[in-house]
Symmetry: C2
């Protein structure tokens, strides 16, 4: 077998690993691919790991033992995350985004693949240890961030629908009360989409009253699945208590002042670096 040089090995290795985040590759895999000794592959891994850390571009984690190997994790730098979310907040604070009724137009930001990929990395890093089997969201606004989170976690995405379709097959449907508007809502999941005992990470775009989150948790109960985490892109800082209190969010929307044309939003306290 032709010998492969270190430059070549580290480049191909990084691309293969980062194409499949949170998935373990054995040293044998790379050893065979490059025709190199396992000790050489170990050195390659150390080099890639150090460079990713130095430039805050992610992390390589080595798992030892029989099922051992190496995997790419999207653990980005805390200061970098804070700076990124501050930029997103400042974009959202544009007065032109204020809609009648005090709503905020953020659809473009929540659909931006660059923004959602980065948000997905941050959310995934929070929940690597929760060992979710899938990410659960409800259509439509939260889908892009939930998909990118699932991508960084290396797990499937499952989308609850407001109205079941023929292509869903048999479904489980629940009714729930919206926490903020107190209207009855409905959502459905295909029966075959979740298996008993699986672990769900709930990811949605916006937490106001918490009704939808409770609905998603109730839906998981119907499947005897376990919710191992609940996360939102934004939460509204309202005076009223929310229906859930065990969750995380990337940003806190303090206020949309329609008359004064101001929006107050900042990275969540979890980033611990408020100015």
């Amino acid at each position: 077998m032709e010998k492969v040089k270190r430059n070549e090995r580290v480049i191909a290795m990084l691309k293969i690993l980062s194409n499949a985040p949170n998935k373990s590759f054995t040293l044998n895999y790379f050893s065979d691919l490059f025709g190199a000794a396992k000790s050489t592959i170990s050195e390659d891994i150390d080099i890639v790991r150090e460079v990713l850390e130095k430039y805050a571009l992610g992390a390589l984690e080595t798992v030892t033992g029989a099922a051992g190997g190496v995997m790419y994790l999207a653990r980005t730098d805390a200061a970098d995350n804070y700076a990124f979310l501050t930029r997103v907040c400042s974009k959202m604070q544009d007065a032109a985004r204020i809609l009648p009724g005090g709503f905020l137009y953020v659809t473009d930001i929540l659909n931006d693949p660059t923004v959602t990929a980065r948000m997905g990395e941050i959310l995934a890093a929070w929940y690597y240890e929760a060992r979710a089997d899938f990410v659960l969201t409800v259509e439509t606004m939260g889908i892009p961030v939930a998909l990118m989170t699932a991508r960084s976690l290396g797990v499937p995405l499952i989308i609850a629908r407001r109205d079941a379709r023929m292509t869903d097959g048999s479904v489980v449907t629940i009714n729930y009360l919206s926490g903020s508007s107190h209207t009855m809502q409905r959502m459905s999941l295909p029966k075959r989409s979740v298996r008993e005992g699986q672990r769900a990470l709930i990811v949605d775009d916006f937490l106001k009253g918490g009704g939808t989150a409770v609905g998603l948790r109730d839906l998981m109960k119907e499947f005897n699945a376990q919710v191992v985490g609940t996360a939102f892109v934004m939460e509204a800082a309202t005076s009223k208590a929310k229906l859930i209190d065990d969750y995380r969010s990337l940003m806190v929307l303090e206020d949309v002042n329609e008359a004064g044309k101001t929006v107050s939003i900042s990275p969540s306290k979890l980033f611990g670096k408020r100015a």
Copy 2:
């Protein structure tokens, strides 16, 4: 400035470039980042390019001139693409996926981030030259693939909704006839989401009669935007003519035989390697 070694440069460069597909970075950017001469950076680029090509992991394109630079493109190998789609088809051919009415359960596959990321790369590679300003889809099933296509193209995703929400602001709504069921459908886009003269790439999950695709094209006319491509994950091979004929698809669904419990689906002829 501390000198940075080649290993380190090629690793960081690849990660930075592949984090932002189809986006040009100047040689000066890397020259400053690594404290290296532009000629050295050029050599680094050549090394990364050769390795990506050798292992079919993507491509680096160099743009010369004043606005010059280097960018990562997800051009994957033709034989690899064909093999990937063949695997997807064989998964879809599982008789357990057949639903009453001859529908096929593929939701799990269309929501799988690994599968959709790869599909997005293939679709993006088809349309790099079309210079789309955004990818357009309609909720819900096509969103994951459309988002991943937008990610590989480095452009935003825009999602038409069946029902407009308060958070959409002013919207443009059109009515259209579903090509297959001849029922009236409706979809909306926020007025501020598209600007006159922009270039749209339509990406959706399934082409049957073509009514939705015509609807999306009509919607773009309302914005005086130009449709530069139309692509689907799957098209149904029906005897009836479709309402559109200028499109591409990844796979062709020939038949779902409910009684015989067989599904016939294969990669589209565009991959040119049918067995």
